[in-house]
Subunit: 492 residues, 2 copies
């Protein structure tokens, strides 16, 4: 892959000064087009020290309108970032629709270094690369254009550049001992980077290797690639007819996991209170150990209206120190949220060490209500299963304990609860016309839920089925599960 | 202030269980009212260790709807927080309209501890307290209700509580060596806290001292205060007629600072290029020293349309390493921004050590366009001067270098530039109907600018007047000022 970037491409001064004005005008024109398009752009700039990554960023900011371009240099993570899965810091950098972000370095930086110095095996490295592919495919579907540039220089050129930088009093600060150590491993870096680039060059976001020995050639190549990629994607968006999602109203199978639940389970008040008290004591004790264990806890509550999510959540929060938890109710996204890829609004609430986040409804909305109501296109909710699994694997892989509760009631019980809400003055706010309307889609919702449970239950983050016609039973089961899971995870 | 919280108030079990259900129902009702009101609420909970701050937070979350209540325990700052002025971490915690936030500890915590241990003088302490008053007055005006609770216990009670906690294996973790050290200084803490509370009890946000020795009394008192404060403020909002701001169209004085500028200043291209190159080299060299010096740089660009802000900004960014800066264009706020106090959207972009943020228009919009167009009420833009001064003092006090550029052109020059924009295809996007319309308010805008410059120039963050009819002159002046200021600040 790198051979073709070692052929000695050069651009003379005259050609350069002839081509630059047009390139700049075109870049500006495409940036203006981007401003109102349903698209955001991230330019990743990779390559060795001395290849000129910083110069290319400076160039882009100079040739385009720097206003609204966000640049992020990937250096060591802050402590807020280290307390969360490695991709969290990149998610928080994603630009909003109409904007352009430039990453100097990227999610590839650390894995490549780790592999070069043998801190990860080839298999671990490949697994990480494949995860990035998944991420990039998703970003592409979520209307984010990734332009991946790799600035390549040969071993001799790198050596010369580092020496030259060291001699220049104004540039010396840029060359560290680490850079020389990396330089000594040039061949390894080359091999590992080439492997990474080959494995992660896909149609949606191919790598562009740029021969960076000649500065003028490097500049023109980088700017042209950004221009062409941006233009092609914007043309494509204009040509695409705006999609009008159709509601997907599947029929439930006559025998399914939800119908197999025994909704007659009941607990009398005295038994329930006794058990709740015990479990609350367990949860209180165990949740305090999260911080020292550098773990955190994510609870997800899903289920139809009036299934008792709020009540169950209150039984959990009663047990957890208020300093440490956050309940995040998921309803309509804010405009900052809807201007970014779907999972962004959930990533931003992922807790750091020692903390608990409780999602009252969650990322599963996409394969439940958004599918049934036709808010998400067929393609969007179909790919969501894999994206959600990958998201949760990142959480659990980092040591976050994820428990997902599915609270299920019979349509008859829901009807009773709706009527009760309407009859009780202080509960009336909980019931709206929408709720009655949603009941008509009960079957489709049930079928969507069955498919969701089947496709997103994993060993690390299984769905816990909660029979919820009896509130006592449901609350005891929820709290008991939290207590047992914490014990299992923290005692091992 | 504390004597009245040492009178032995107690609530018996029966009274407690009689009063709780009504309190809870009322709290929930007010929280629902809050959800759609133009108001956000922050409950500050202060007091010594062992007074039951955490229990009161737990209580609030249990008695109210925990969904959407954000709780923040003020412990040690993260490194992202330490790299910014001390109030930054509190600004990022401010809840959006309709929401309630609970702070365990607050902006009072650190100053009180510093004073107790003699790390600050009485005068420094009082200055800090007065700043907090300013902040709280502003938050009140920006439709944020602050409910400040102080849980008070006597010395004996604290000693007993700490001992009891230490004996309980499940609570022992909560008592640290530091707590005992604080306990030994009980009398000092009492004196310093009492002083702080007295000085910062104002009409908009008085302190409520709660006798916290008896748990039932403490709970009822805390919940009642929250309920009553919330209800009173919501009633008041309902009673207030919605304000309809009138545009403020002042006449400029015949002799003023803007008219005294010599707009005939000119530089030929060769001289300008030579100076720009020199200053850019200076800025490039100096800006790299910001990180080591633990300083950062904020540049503000204001001035009428077509005054050349964009071009001047580009001359600066060309000199600064792209890794280190961000250009933030200020136009309409996002909904997350408009749901919070005005300055929130600027605070969120304040740079950490070593970084540069360039604001293309800024917080001065409130006293310029918002005043002239009538977007801000008379009262709002009038109080903005003091708020802005306080904001900038916090930045400069922390070591952030703040330079504010006022680019000024004659109306004739603006007219020429507008016509040029309309005639040049790639510049047409820069000019809209609004721009022509705004020209009609030139006089009012000029008068507003004069008042702004007069009221917000300070030694630490002066306005730099830039005669901008000649672009060369303007750009050289901007870059030269940045270079000289950096040299002065970093070499001292």
């Amino acid at each position: 892959m790198f051979e073709s970037a070692e052929i000695g491409s050069k651009v003379d001064k005259k050609t350069y000064s002839e081509r630059v004005p047009e390139l700049r005008a075109n870049l500006l024109a495409e940036q203006r087009r981007l401003a109102t398009a349903p698209l955001s752009v991230v330019v990743l700039i990779g390559g060795l020290e001395g290849a000129g990554k910083g110069e290319v960023v400076n160039l882009m900011l100079e040739w385009m309108d720097a206003r609204g371009i966000e640049t992020h240099a990937i250096s060591s993570a802050t402590d807020e970032e280290r307390a969360r899965p490695s991709m969290w810091r990149f998610w928080r950098m994603l630009p909003a629709r109409g904007h352009l972000g430039v990453l100097l370095g990227s999610w590839y930086t650390r894995p490549i270094i780790d592999r070069v110095f043998g801190r990860s095996s080839q298999t671990e490295f490949d697994i990480e690369l494949d995860r990035m592919l998944d991420l990039e495919r998703m970003l592409a579907k979520e209307n984010m254009l990734l332009i991946k540039l790799w600035l390549h220089i040969g071993e001799k050129t790198q050596g010369k550049r580092l020496e030259k930088l060291e001699k220049d009093p104004q540039q010396r600060w840029r060359v560290t001992k680490l850079d020389w150590r990396y330089f000594k491993n040039y061949k390894k870096f080359r091999r590992v980077s080439e492997h990474a680039l080959q494995r992660t060059s896909i149609g949606e976001s191919p790598w562009h290797v740029i021969e960076a020995a000649d500065v003028r050639h490097r500049n023109l190549a980088a700017a042209s690639i950004v221009l062409e990629s941006l233009r092609a994607r914007l043309d494509q968006i204009e040509a695409e007819p705006p999609s009008r999602p159709e509601p997907d109203l599947p029929e439930p199978k006559p025998v399914n996991i939800l119908r197999s639940l025994d909704l007659t389970h009941k607990l009398d008040d005295a038994t329930a209170d006794r058990r709740l008290l015990k479990y609350q004591a367990d949860v209180a004790r165990l949740s305090r150990r999260l911080a020292n264990a550098e773990r955190s806890l994510v609870l997800v509550f899903e289920g139809p209206d009036a299934a008792g999510k709020g009540g169950a959540i209150r039984r959990v929060t009663r047990a957890v120190d208020a300093r440490g938890f956050q309940v995040v109710p998921i309803s309509a996204p804010t405009d900052e949220e809807s201007a970014r890829p779907y999972l962004w609004r959930f990533w931003r609430h992922i807790p750091g060490h020692g903390r608990v986040t409780i999602f009252d409804r969650s990322w599963y909305g996409r394969v439940l209500v958004e599918r049934v109501e036709g808010f998400a296109s067929d393609e969007d909710w179909r790919r969501a299963y894999a994206e959600i699994n990958s998201f949760e694997q990142q959480l659990t892989g980092f040591g976050i304990i994820v428990i997902k509760f599915w609270l299920w009631i019979s349509p008859e019980e829901q009807h009773r609860r709706f009527q009760d809400r309407q009859a009780t003055p202080y509960k009336q706010y909980k019931i709206t016309e929408d709720d009655w309307r949603n009941r008509k889609k009960w079957d489709a919702y049930e079928a969507a839920a069955c498919e969701m449970i089947e496709r997103t239950s994993s060993e690390a983050s299984p769905w816990v089925m909660v029979e919820a016609d009896d509130k006592n039973w449901a609350r005891v089961k929820v709290l008991g599960t939290v207590a047992r899971t914490l014990a299992k995870e923290l005692d091992r």
